[in-house]
C-alpha cells in the first residue's frame, strides 16, 4: 500500500495534474475567499465553505480521474494485480494519495482566514468545524471519483461521470425543498443528502450521525471500487 501511495503522490507531480490541481485550488479558493469575506466586509465563513463545497465537487473528479483509468489503458495495472498486494490495499493506496493532495490544499487555503485577524474577531471553532466537514465530504467525493475511474479507460469520462454523480447527490437537497416537511420521503432525503448534512456543519453544529454518514458513504464507494476489480478478473 505504501509503495502505491508514494508512487501516486509522486505521479501527481511528474505529470501535470498535481500542479493544475494545486494552482486551480489555491487560485479559486483565493477568489472565493476574496468575494465572500474581504469584499463583503464580513468574517462570516458560511458562504466561503458552501462555495468551496461546490468547487470541490468539480475539482476533485479531476484529481481522481486518472487513478485507475490510466493504469487500465496502459496496462500497468497488470503489474499491480500480479504483485503480492491485495486489491483493497491497492485501492487504499490510491485513495490516500488523492486525499493527501486534497487535505493539504484545503488546510493551506483555510489559513487565508488568518488575513482577517487584524480586522475582525474570528470564530475559529466554526472554521475548524467547516474544514472538518469539507475533509469528510472530500473523502466521499474522492471515493466516488476512484470508483468511476475504475469503470473506464477514459480519463475524461471518469471526470465527467464523477461530477455527474456528485451533482446528483447534491441535487437531492433541492428535491427536499419540494417535499412537504412532514412527509417520510423528506426524512429519507434529508438523511442521505450530502448538502443538508454539510449545512449542519457550516452552521456550527457537530453531529455524530453526519460523521458516521460521510465515513460510511466513502467506505461504500471504496468497497464498490474493490468489487469492480474483483469482478473484472471473472469477466
Amino acid at each position: 500500500m505504501l509503495a502505491i501511495f508514494k508512487r501516486e503522490l509522486r505521479g501527481y507531480f511528474t505529470g501535470v495534474i498535481g500542479y493544475v490541481f494545486l494552482v486551480l485550488f489555491l487560485a479559486v479558493a483565493g477568489i472565493i475567499f476574496s468575494y465572500t469575506t474581504l469584499f463583503s466586509m464580513t468574517a462570516d465563513s458560511t458562504s466561503y465553505f458552501t462555495a468551496m463545497l461546490l468547487f470541490s465537487a468539480i475539482i476533485l473528479p479531476i484529481l481522481t480521474m486518472k487513478s485507475f483509468s490510466e493504469e487500465r489503458k496502459t496496462k500497468t495495472e497488470q503489474l499491480l494485480l500480479t504483485s503480492p498486494v491485495s486489491i483493497p490495499s491497492m485501492v487504499m493506496g490510491k485513495f490516500l494519495a488523492s486525499y493527501v493532495m486534497f487535505a493539504g490544499a484545503l488546510i493551506f487555503t483555510s489559513l487565508y482566514f488568518l488575513l482577517l485577524l487584524p480586522y475582525a474577531a474570528i470564530k475559529w471553532a466554526v472554521i475548524v468545524g467547516n474544514v472538518i466537514a469539507l475533509l469528510l465530504v472530500g473523502m466521499v467525493f474522492i471515493a466516488i471519483g476512484l470508483f468511476v475511474s475504475a469503470l473506464t479507460e477514459n480519463q475524461l469520462s471518469a471526470a465527467v461521470g464523477t461530477i455527474a454523480i456528485i451533482f446528483a447527490l447534491l441535487g437531492i437537497s433541492l428535491l427536499t425543498s419540494l417535499v412537504p416537511s412532514n412527509y417520510w420521503i423528506r426524512f429519507v432525503l434529508d438523511a442521505i443528502s450530502i448538502f443538508t448534512r454539510f449545512h449542519s456543519f457550516t452552521n456550527g453544529y457537530f453531529e455524530l450521525s453526519s460523521l458516521v454518514y460521510y465515513i460510511s458513504a466513502a467506505a461504500l464507494f471504496i468497497y464498490f471500487t474493490i468489487r469492480v476489480y474483483d469482478r473484472r478478473r471473472y469477466n
Binding site: 511528474t14 500497468t76 503489474l79 499491480l80 500480479t82 503480492p84 478478473r233
Partner: protein, 321 residues
C-alpha cells in the same frame, strides 16, 4: 513448481482455454507455443492471478493462486504482453517502486544494481522510460519481473517488436535465467522455442495439442520431412528415379514449372535425410538440380501435422479396443 489443473476460461460461449492441464518442474524452461489467439496470454494471465479461470485451478509452488493470491504471487515475476511500465518514471525510480511493491527484503542497492547489469540497463537507468526505445522498454519489463528473484518467471511474447539483435540478446538472457528460475515463455515463433526452451507446450484454439521435449518435437517435425526439388529433365525419367532412392517415402510431381525445370515434392521416410541421395541421383544422370528447399517447417504445417498425429493416436486407441 507451476501446475495447471483442468483450466477452463470461457467468455460467453467462447472457450479461450478448454481443459488445459500441465505441470512444470523447478528449473525448467518451457515454451507455450501457438498462433495468435490460441489462449497463450489467457493461460499466463490465469497463472499469474491477473484473471481467474472459469473452472480448474492453478498452483504456484503448491499454492492455489485464487485461494491465496498474495502468498502465491510472491513467487512470480511476470512480463505481460505489453511491458507494464510508467513512462513518466526513470528506470531506476520504476525499479525502486517495484522493489517496494513486491516487499523485497534483499539489500536494495545491490539487488537493483545486479538486475540492471543482467538486463544491460545500467547506462539508461536515469532516463525517463517514455523516452526509451521499444527494446529498452522490453528490458525494463524483464528487469521488473526479476525483482525479488522470484522462483517462477513468466514472459508473454518477450521478443515481439524487437530487432534481430535484440531478439538474440533477450533469448540469451532468458536461457541464462533458466539456470536459477523456472521460466515459462509464450511465443508464436517455432525457432524461438527451439532456441531457448527444453520443453514445449503447443496450444491451439484453447487446447493443448502437444506437450513434449523440444528435441522430440524436432523429431516429429523431421518425421516425413518434405522437400521441394526442382530438376531439369524428362519427368517420366526423373520421377521413377526419385522414388527408387532409399529413404524416400513418396515422390510426386507438382504442377507448375521453373523455367525448363519441373517441380517435385519428395517426402522422406522417418528421420532420414535424403538430400544427398537426391543430389547424387541427379548428378549421375546429368539432370541439373536448380532448387532444393524444405517445406512444411513452418508453424502452420506443424500444427496440422500435430493435430493429425493426435487424431491418429485417438482413433488408433479406439481400434485397439
Amino acid at each position: 513448481m507451476v501446475k495447471a489443473e483442468n483450466l477452463v476460461k470461457r467468455y460467453g460461449s467462447n472457450y479461450a482455454l478448454n481443459d488445459v492441464s500441465f505441470e512444470i518442474g523447478a528449473g525448467e524452461i518451457v515454451g507455450l507455443l501457438g498462433p495468435n489467439g490460441a489462449g497463450k496470454s489467457t493461460a499466463m494471465n490465469i497463472l499469474t492471478g491477473y484473471l481467474s479461470s472459469t473452472s480448474g485451478a492453478a498452483y504456484i509452488n503448491g499454492i492455489n493462486i485464487l485461494d491465496n493470491p498474495i502468498e502465491a504471487k510472491k513467487y512470480i515475476g511476470f512480463l505481460p504482453e505489453q511491458p507494464p511500465v510508467y513512462g513518466e518514471m526513470t528506470v531506476r525510480e520504476y525499479l525502486d517502486f517495484v522493489y517496494e511493491l513486491k516487499k523485497v527484503e534483499f539489500d536494495r542497492e545491490a539487488h537493483i544494481k545486479e538486475i540492471l547489469s543482467v538486463v544491460k540497463l545500467t547506462d539508461v537507468k536515469d532516463r525517463l522510460i517514455k523516452n526509451l526505445s521499444k527494446g529498452y522498454k522490453q528490458r525494463v519489463g524483464i528487469a521488473q519481473a526479476l525483482i525479488g528473484d522470484p522462483k517462477v518467471v513468466i514472459f508473454d511474447e518477450p521478443t515481439v517488436g524487437l530487432d534481430p539483435k535484440q531478439i538474440l540478446e533477450v533469448r540469451n538472457l532468458i536461457r541464462n535465467l533458466g539456470k536459477r528460475h523456472t521460466v515459462i515463455l509464450s511465443t508464436h515463433i517455432l525457432a524461438e522455442v527451439q532456441a531457448v526452451c527444453e520443453r514445449v507446450i503447443i496450444i491451439n484454439k484453447g487446447r493443448i495439442i502437444a506437450d513434449e521435449r523440444v528435441d522430440e518435437l524436432t523429431k516429429t517435425i523431421e518425421d516425413g520431412y518434405q522437400h521441394e526439388v526442382r530438376i531439369v529433365g524428362t519427368s517420366s525419367a526423373v520421377l521413377p528415379a526419385l522414388k527408387r532412392i532409399s529413404g524416400v517415402r513418396s515422390a510426386e510431381q507438382l504442377s507448375g514449372r521453373d523455367g525448363d525445370a519441373f517441380i517435385y515434392a519428395v517426402e522422406s521416410a522417418g528421420s532420414s535425410d535424403v538430400r544427398r541421395s537426391v543430389f547424387n541421383v541427379c548428378a549421375q544422370n546429368g539432370w541439373p538440380m536448380v532448387g532444393l528447399a524444405p517445406v512444411g517447417g513452418d508453424l502452420e504445417s506443424i500444427f496440422i501435422r500435430l493435430v493429425d498425429k493426435s487424431d491418429r493416436k485417438i482413433s488408433g486407441g479406439k481400434t485397439e479396443r
